[in-house]
Amino acid sequence: MEESFRTPAQWYDGHSAVRHEGDALWDGARQLALRSTSSNLDIALGELVFAEERGGQRVYRWSGDDDFRLILPADLPAGLAAALPSRRKYGAWVDGLGLGKATVLFAGVSAGLLALFFTAPDWLGPRIPTSWERSMGDALVGDFGNRICHTPEGDAALAKLLAKVDPAEEKVRAGIANSTDVNAVALPGGQILIFDGLVQEAETPEELAGVLGHEVGHVRERHVMTALLRQFGLTVLLSGMNTGIGDTLFGLAAMDYSRDAEREADEYSRARMLESGISPTGAAEFFERLSARIDYDEDSLLGWAASHPGPGERAEAYREAAEGRTFTPVLTEQEFGALKTMCEEDEDVEVMQSIV
């Protein structure tokens, strides 16, 4: 037989660790005959699978027996080399395309996915029906388990205030939570919580109207749903990239609104206040006062006073809106007083622990 059809070979039969050393004889077509003093085997070339290349050798597996290994020298006769299965390097897809093309393709697909991923909340959020958001919100936050303060007078005052900044037929749900935090939040499902700590800080009902209007703005502009989707997406993305599930942080506390959303909510609030003849000057002062004494925290849904546009710029916008207009008080002294004392007078309300 010609030399070009014969090559030294080693093989393991997969049943014992004994190494068989001999020759591989190629019939010039599809058959390889392995011959040694200890083992004779005939193998169809089409049944060989490339395993790896290592230190001047090529290792092949055999689809007929997973345990079998054939080891041939890397410098094979050209004809046989062409008849054997080709090398695999990076994996089937990358090998098929070539490293350069595969990199460009993967990068393109990834960039597209990322772009879709980061913009999806903005266009998807407002398209999710309000009723869905409401059920989702109810499942997520529920009724706060008797931590909302109620008195007949206080409830009436809050309803009156809400009506001024939320003219829609179906009102958002707002409540004063029995917590000393100086904060206010818009939660999934169109629920607004103003913490009693913030109510106590307010000196006039106009100040509260500014805060309430802002939160209503978040609900009406669908910012809550957008933020919820973004947060959910980030959780999934992070858990895909970083496999440590312990690192994955999910929580409403980590949710935040964009600066644009904050500005929109402010604009909404000012527009409603002007419509209802509420002075925005109070709100301006309130923001300045709060930002002066509250530590700036990370932007967070629950960090009400923190996540908003620069306090100076913001108060300015409210003052400008007030220029050249006259306003009537939004609530009477008694009504404002009822809001202030609501949590104190509600005897069976429970304390809401800080949720941040």
């Binding site: 049943h15 004994v18 290592r54 345990d67 990834s110 990322l114 499942a139 936050v141 970083n242 312990g246």
Partner: protein, 353 residues
């Protein structure tokens, strides 16, 4: 064919070099980035193929037969059976907090913590089983028929018992778990034997408690209530020594302890008629970690991709084996093979060998 008896002395060799490894590691890094991390399963596989095939035992190279898609599916399975419930639980937890049920959330958190403790034991076991079942030498592979769920409980309670008496039983925890895990493993027809004892490693372990003695003079000084004078100086000096120990002493001691533990544990292992030893001293480990640190800081983290190479080389070069192998009697492993990779281990972020 007659019995072939081979002298297996200084049996492990590594003949890879970092330049060749770089040709694998850099494209891996590139592909991992452009696929948003998904390629990392194939990347790991390619790295292992290189490391295994450049490692020889006696007269034949090892072969890594694991595949990227196994690791990928393992990851997907874990993501589905653990990840999704985890995300849902997060939602439930925030809902419960809003409803004022903090106590239940705390209980839920504790249950999750205990469950992940148990699962991390299972994960270690299964990763070892997977790696052995994908390692071939002369066509023969290893493995285990044990799925590792019982080992998870052992891991759970032995660590609990080890830690409770101010950590004093940790050496026992480590050696007994090492034995339990390895005794379930086999390669070819031979079960691995392992008889690691805690006694030889206790001396080093007790060094961790030496700084606690400093609390005695500190306590006496506080008792004297004269912090202006000499007692204050005692407190200050003790505190400084304690801080120095925490930052420098503890890491060094941990390395020294682990070096001793690893030598002892490997030394008690047998496989057929082959006995093993691991000869890295504390100073070798310190050099390993120090060079890791210097390389990574000098390259702003890029050298991180060479860490698997450096560590594998370290293990192989310090591993020794002596004894005889009867190649005719060395038949194929009959253990079941796990179909998917190290998903669980991956999920708990434990990459150690």
């Amino acid at each position: 064919m007659a019995d072939i008896k081979e002298k297996a002395n200084n049996a492990f060799r590594f003949d890879g070099n970092w330049q060749d490894f770089a040709k694998i590691a850099f494209p891996n890094l590139l592909l991992t980035i452009v696929t948003l991390g998904i390629y990392r399963f194939w990347a790991t596989t390619r790295e292992r193929q290189y490391l295994w095939s450049h490692t020889s035992f006696v007269d034949e190279r090892l072969e890594w037969t694991g595949e990227g898609r196994e690791l990928f599916f393992g990851f997907l399975i874990v993501a589905i059976i653990l990840g999704i419930p985890f995300v849902i639980l997060q939602f439930i937890a925030s809902g419960m907090i809003f409803r004022g049920m903090q106590d239940y959330v705390l209980v839920m958190g504790i249950i999750l913590f205990l469950a992940s403790w148990y699962l991390s034991g299972v994960a270690r076991f299964r990763a070892m089983r997977y790696r052995l079942s994908r390692t071939r030498w002369r066509g023969i592979r290893g493995g285990s028929d044990n799925p590792g769920f019982v080992y998870g409980w052992s891991y759970f309670w032995r660590w609990l018992v080890g830690i409770l008496p101010v950590g004093l039983l940790i050496p026992w925890t480590m050696t007994s778990l090492w034995n339990e895990r390895w005794r379930e493993m086999s390669f070819g027809p031979y079960q691995v034997e392992s008889d690691a004892e805690p006694a030889p490693i206790y001396k080093r372990f007790l060094l961790f408690y030496v700084p606690l003695l400093l609390l005695i003079p500190m306590g006496i000084a506080f008792q004297s209530a004269d912090l202006e004078g000499g007692a204050g100086a005692v407190v200050a000096i003790s505190a400084i020594v304690l801080v120095l120990f925490i930052y420098f002493g503890m890491p060094l001691l941990s390395v020294a302890f682990y070096a001793k533990f690893f030598r002892e544990a490997v030394h008690t292992m047998r496989w057929g008629d082959v006995e093993f030893s691991f000869r890295a001293r504390t100073s070798d480990w310190i050099v390993l970690y120090l060079v890791d640190f210097l390389l990574i800081s000098a390259t702003f983290g890029l050298a991180y991709i060479f860490i698997p190479y450096r560590h594998w080389k370290f293990y192989v070069e310090h591993m020794h084996a002596e004894g005889e192998i009867d190649l005719d009697a060395m038949t194929q492993s009959q253990t079941a093979t796990a179909r998917h990779g190290e998903g669980l281990l991956d999920a708990f972020d434990m990459g150690a060998i």
